[in-house]
Structures are given as structure tokens and as C-alpha cells.
């Protein structure tokens, strides 16, 4: 009941004309940028962050919810029509989606993706509305030791469990943690690793890192390694509407995938990659048209797309209720909060209920805007895909540099951006995951603060982390996540 009242208050905030307008702009911009090939949701959110510099926090965050959903949908369009998944969570969609497009069924593929995203996004938002207050309640009992353990757990799952190689994930994580150290130590005022550069005293902004790794890194990579290849854009022929048969084959996958995607997104072992593949495998198994899989089965688009969206919404649960990001996109959203001096977590629900619930309410609205805006406008989004690549990447860099430069009005940030671009180029080419670096940068300083707070309370006695049951359990799980895969391989080998 309490939740319902809070949510209604949220709607009264989100439905204000000005906030609706920000939501609308957010969805449109998010879709537009998200459609651009090579631009995944994380980069979209990072590039559009400067849009919100001068807005009030509520409006800005509502716009961001719109950008987040728009970016997800835009990404699916590109995945289906270009067979170019912008992020790992779209690979499963690409399997069937691009084949449907080749067979002249791009319309229904995009429709099932859009409507499925709406259905999954809405159900997942309902789940978030119900679950988040419960977690908030539980988290009020958390002390610094528990938070620290939870963050360590998130570090290890993001870097060691996801991705092909534990050690490369850890390399990215530690690079991110190092970058997080740069700047003034929040507890003593001591400058660390700033090399006397004043721009570095504030620390490294997550926007510069994300945009450098994704936008500059990707541009360098594409220019150097694939610019002489040609893309094959599938034309959008025939009806974009789904037949009754398509509906019948789409609805069950949407629903099943929602309940696969949401839990995966919300536990700090997040990432949308695993649930999309689980959903793909499940639909292949359950489908009465199993023979169509690999040739363009609509279930293979409906399921993974819904799972992806549900996981993206699920990722907002730990972000809002605990302040812990479990994906690169969520990490950038966290920095959007921090720009306003807000720290998501249980306290934010108490101190800023209008903002938090306004944001949650706007997610319901964002889903609706997305649906009514995107299906009719799909023709325009397809035209965006036809932008020649030589202009596309130049344009991306114009906006990428804008974001970095607007931080301090200084060329030093642009140099930093280029250095991260080189790093991103190397990581892209030699298969080092990027998300752990971004999460390390944003979560590292928070983890250090909690670590030192816990020790200050215990007067330097490190046993607090192992005597508190929740903390001890989480640290044990974290250790298992790193050592587990290695031990498993050893045992298998005998």
C-alpha cells in the first residue's frame, strides 16, 4: 500500500508536462543515437550525459530513463538490419533477427522486438516497483562492512564470471580500480596519482573513460581493421506488422524471457548476455518450429529481446536500492546521479522519494512513449542506418569530444580521452572486456570509502569482514567466483 502511494506520487511528478517533454526528448535522442552502428546503449548514455548538465535532477534523470530505453531499442534495430550487434547482449537477437531481415521479414522482427521490449520492460518495471522497497528495507541494516563485501562480490562477478577469460576480466577491473584512485582522496584530502595536473584532482570522469573506450576506441578499431570492408544493410520490405501467427509465436517467449531476464539483471552477477542466450536456448527447445531456428524464427528474436530489456530494467534494482551498478550502462547512470550529489541507495528512497519514484514512474511512461513513437517512425530510423560510415564515425567523435570538453572546458580532458581511446582500441582488438574497467572506476572509490569506514568503526580490526555473517558470505562467494572456474578446470583435467 505504501508502495502504491509512493508510486502515485511518482506519477504526479513524471506526468508534469515538462517532465513528459524531457522523457520524450530522451527516448527520441536515445533511439537516434542507439541506432547508429557501433554505438551500444552504454556509449549512447555516456554521450548524451552532457545534455543534462543544466537540468534539474528530476528532469535529467527522467530524460535518462528515456535515453536508456531508447538506446536499447535503437540497438535492436541496428542488430536486426545490419547484423551488427552493438553489445554482447544483442548477439542472440542477431542470430535470428538478421536472418529474418534477409528473408524480407525485417518488419515483423522489428515489431516483435519493439512490442516485446514494451511488454518485458513494463512487467519488469512492475517487479522493480515491488522488489526495490523490500531490498531497501533489508539494506537499511547494512553497515560499511556489508557494503564493502557486496561491492567486492560485484567486482568479481562482473570481471571473472562474465566474459571469456577470468584473467583478462580482472586486468580490466584493476585498470578501472587504478583509474578510480586518481584524484583527491575523499577522506584525507591527499592527492593521489595526479602528477600535478589540476584537471586530474577531481578524479577521472566516467564519461571520459566510457566515451574514450567505446567511441574513440571503436573508431580507431574500425578505421584500422574493418573500414575497407562493406556493410550489408537489409532493406525494410513488406509489412512491418506482425501476422496473427507471429503474435501467437511471440507472446509466450516475451513472458518467459521477462522472468529469465529480470532476476539476472537484478542480482549483482548481472549483465544481460547470459539471460538472452538462456532465453534463446529455451525458445529453441520449446518451439514447435525448431527447424526454423537458424533460418529466422521469430521466437528467437522475441525471447532474447524481451530478456535483454527485462535484464536492463532489473539492473536498475541494485542501482537504485543499493547504489551498485552491475553493467557498464548502469555505472554511467550512477555517475549521472553523482553529478547531482545524489548517492543512490536506501537513504535516497527516504530523502528524495519524489525523485526516486518519479524516476520509476517515468520508466512506465518511457516504455509507452517508446512503443507509440518507434513503430511509426521506424522508416526514419532505417534511414539513419544508411549514413555513410566515413561521416558516421566523424559525427560520433564530434559528440564524443563535446561531452569530454564540457567537463572542465579544457583540452587536457581531450588528451585523456585519446589515451583511453588507445586503451579501448587495444582492448577491442585483443579481446579484453571493457565493462569491468568502467565498473571498477565508478565503484572502486565507493568500495574504498566503505572499507575504511568499516575499519574506522572496528578501530582497525580487519576481522569485521569475516565475523559479520552477510559480509563473510558475500566475500566467500566472491572468492569462489574467481577461483571456481580455475579449480573446476583443474579437477576436470584430473
Amino acid at each position: 500500500m505504501e508502495t502504491l502511494t509512493a508510486l502515485l506520487t511518482g506519477f504526479s511528478v513524471a506526468l508534469k508536462p515538462i517532465n513528459l517533454l524531457w522523457g520524450f526528448i530522451g527516448v527520441t535522442m536515445g533511439t537516434f543515437v542507439g541506432v547508429l552502428p557501433g554505438v551500444g546503449p552504454a556509449l549512447t548514455v555516456a554521450m548524451l550525459l552532457p545534455l543534462t548538465i543544466k537540468l534539474d535532477p528530476t528532469g535529467a534523470l527522467i530524460m535518462f530513463a528515456g535515453i536508456y530505453y531508447g538506446a536499447m531499442f535503437g540497438g535492436s534495430t541496428t542488430t536486426i538490419l545490419l547484423n551488427a550487434p552493438g553489445e554482447s547482449a544483442s548477439i542472440a537477437t542477431a542470430l535470428e533477427g538478421s536472418r529474418m531481415a534477409k528473408a524480407g521479414r525485417a518488419g515483423p522482427a522489428l515489431a516483435t522486438s519493439a512490442i516485446g521490449s514494451f511488454v518485458a520492460g513494463t512487467i519488469a518495471t512492475v517487479l522493480l516497483t515491488l522488489v526495490a522497497p523490500l531490498i531497501v528495507e533489508a539494506a537499511l541494516a547494512f553497515g560499511p562492512a556489508e557494503y564493502f563485501a557486496l561491492m567486492v562480490f560485484a567486482f568479481t562477478t562482473v570481471s571473472a564470471v562474465l566474459g571469456a577469460s577470468t584473467v583478462r576480466g580482472l586486468a580490466a577491473l584493476f585498470i578501472g580500480l587504478f583509474l578510480g584512485l586518481v584524484g583527491i582522496d575523499s577522506q584525507t584530502g591527499q592527492a593521489r596519482f595526479t602528477f600535478g595536473v589540476p584537471e586530474l584532482l577531481d578524479g577521472i570522469d566516467v564519461v571520459v573513460l566510457a566515451v574514450g573506450l567505446f567511441a574513440v576506441g571503436e573508431t580507431l578499431y574500425v578505421a584500422a581493421y574493418t573500414s575497407r570492408m562493406s556493410d550489408k544493410l537489409e532493406a525494410l520490405k513488406g509489412s512491418i506488422w506482425m501476422s496473427i501467427e507471429d503474435w501467437k509465436r511471440s507472446v509466450p517467449p516475451w513472458l518467459r524471457a521477462t522472468f529469465i531476464g529480470f532476476p539476472f539483471g537484478s542480482i549483482p552477477a548481472g549483465g544481460a548476455e547470459i539471460p538472452t542466450f538462456l532465453s534463446y536456448a529455451l525458445e529453441k527447445k520449446l518451439s514447435r518450429h525448431a527447424e526454423e531456428f537458424g533460418k529466422g524464427a521469430i521466437e528467437g528474436v522475441a525471447g532474447p529481446e524481451a530478456a535483454n530489456n527485462a535484464a536492463a530494467t532489473g539492473a536498475l534494482v541494485p542501482l537504485l536500492s543499493l547504489g551498485i551498478p552491475t553493467s557498464a550502462t548502469a555505472a554511467i547512470l550512477l555517475s549521472a546521479f553523482q553529478n547531482y550529489g545524489l548517492q543512490p541507495g536506501p537513504l535516497l528512497f527516504q530523502t528524495q522519494p519524489e525523485l526516486v519514484w518519479g524516476l520509476i514512474a517515468s520508466m512506465y511512461i518511457g516504455n509507452v512513449i517508446l512503443l507509440i513513437l518507434n513503430l511509426p517512425l521506424i522508416g526514419i530510423w532505417v534511414k539513419v542506418l544508411a549514413i555513410p560510415r566515413e561521416l558516421l564515425y566523424g559525427g560520433i567523435l564530434v559528440f564524443a569530444t563535446l561531452g569530454a570538453y564540457s567537463l572542465h572546458q579544457s583540452w587536457v580532458d581531450l588528451l585523456t580521452l585519446y589515451v583511453f581511446g588507445l586503451l579501448g582500441f587495444a582492448m577491442r582488438r585483443w579481446d579484453i572486456p571493457v565493462a569491468p574497467a568502467i565498473i571498477g572506476l565508478i565503484l572502486g572509490p565507493l568500495a574504498e570509502t566503505q572499507f575504511r569506514r568499516a575499519l574506522a568503526i572496528s578501530e582497525g580490526d580487519p576481522s569485521v569482514f569475516f565475523t559479520h555473517p552477510i559480509s563473510a558470505t558475500l566475500l566467500a562467494l566472491a572468492a569462489a567466483a574467481v577461483i571456481g572456474p580455475w579449480l573446476w578446470r583443474r579437477l576436470k583435467r584430473g
Binding site: A224, R228, G394, G395, L397, Q409, L414, A426
Partner: protein, 166 residues
């Protein structure tokens, strides 16, 4: 074994960064108040972590290469050979932009950036690319400065754009 050169360099880079962090940590003060640990404790942990990961990566390189990577040949990865020219053009664009943005302003710097990148992607229509870059950057400039109140440098075009340059 042709992929090992880059893998050695990257692994060694992580190791060297770790050593650098440990050295940098040694220069930080250690007094810690109630917590008994100071601002140098976590940097030390991160430095040691980087060293361990660097050694681990090197170990993998010399025992058959990094694990679980696709074949490094261009064909398997859907790539062509490294295109130095393209890489240099993109880099040139970014550095030209860095130099120009403070003097010539956001719009001109953006136009030059887009032209250089387009050139890296094989375009030879300099003037068209420059004009497109100019129009795009001008649109972005007006949207951000007039509509969103974000501060961007007008540079040489400040008198024409009718806004205060920074």
C-alpha cells in the same frame, strides 16, 4: 605464434603499470587515524593486483597464448590488415581538434575532426566532409548553448554566433 607480440606488450604493460602504482604508493603518507590504514593502503592493494594479473597474463602468453581467444588471423576475425593510414588520420583529427577547440572554437574544430576521420575511412571529398562537419557541429553548438545552456567555446565565430565565447 604471430599473435604473441601484442599479447606480450599488453601483459607487460599491465605489469609495468602495477609496478608504477606500487612505487607511487610508497610516496603516499600512511597515517590512518581510527581505521589504522591511510590513503596508501588501497593503492597498494591495486598495485599488487595489477602485478599479479600482469604476471598471470605473461604466464598465459608463454604457455600457448592468452586463453579462449578466437584465432588472431584477419580472416577469422572478419578484418583486413592493420591500416596505418586510417589510424593516423583519426589520430590527426583528434589532435587537430584538441588544438583548435580553444582558439578557433567548437564548430571549426568539429568540422576539421569530421573531415580527418572521413579521410581515414577512405573519403576523398574534403570539401563536402568539411561542410557536413561544419553544419553538424554548428547544429550541436546551437542546441547545447542556446537550448541546454551548456558552455561551449565559440572561438573565431563568436561574433557571428552571438554568444559569449569562453
Amino acid at each position: 605464434m604471430r599473435r604473441s607480440a601484442a599479447e606480450i606488450a599488453l601483459s607487460a604493460g599491465v605489469l609495468v603499470l602495477g609496478i608504477g602504482v606500487v612505487i607511487g604508493t610508497a610516496l603516499l603518507p600512511s597515517e590512518g587515524g581510527y581505521a589504522r590504514i591511510g590513503p596508501n593502503f588501497v593503492p597498494g592493494v591495486v598495485g599488487v593486483g595489477l602485478i599479479v594479473v600482469g604476471v598471470w597474463l605473461l604466464y598465459e602468453v608463454f604457455t600457448g597464448g592468452w586463453r579462449d581467444r578466437e584465432d588472431d588471423s584477419p580472416e577469422a576475425r572478419g578484418e583486413h590488415a592493420f591500416d596505418v593510414g586510417a589510424f593516423v588520420w583519426v589520430t590527426t583529427g583528434l589532435f587537430a581538434h584538441m588544438i583548435l577547440i580553444g582558439t578557433a572554437g567548437f564548430v571549426i574544430a568539429g568540422a576539421v575532426l569530421l573531415m580527418c576521420v572521413a579521410c581515414g575511412f577512405g573519403s576523398r571529398r574534403w570539401l563536402r566532409d568539411l561542410v557536413i562537419g561544419f553544419v553538424l557541429a554548428l547544429g550541436a553548438f546551437l542546441f547545447f548553448v542556446k537550448f541546454l545552456n551548456v558552455n561551449l567555446p565559440g572561438g573565431w565565430l563568436t561574433p557571428l554566433l552571438g554568444v559569449a565565447g569562453t
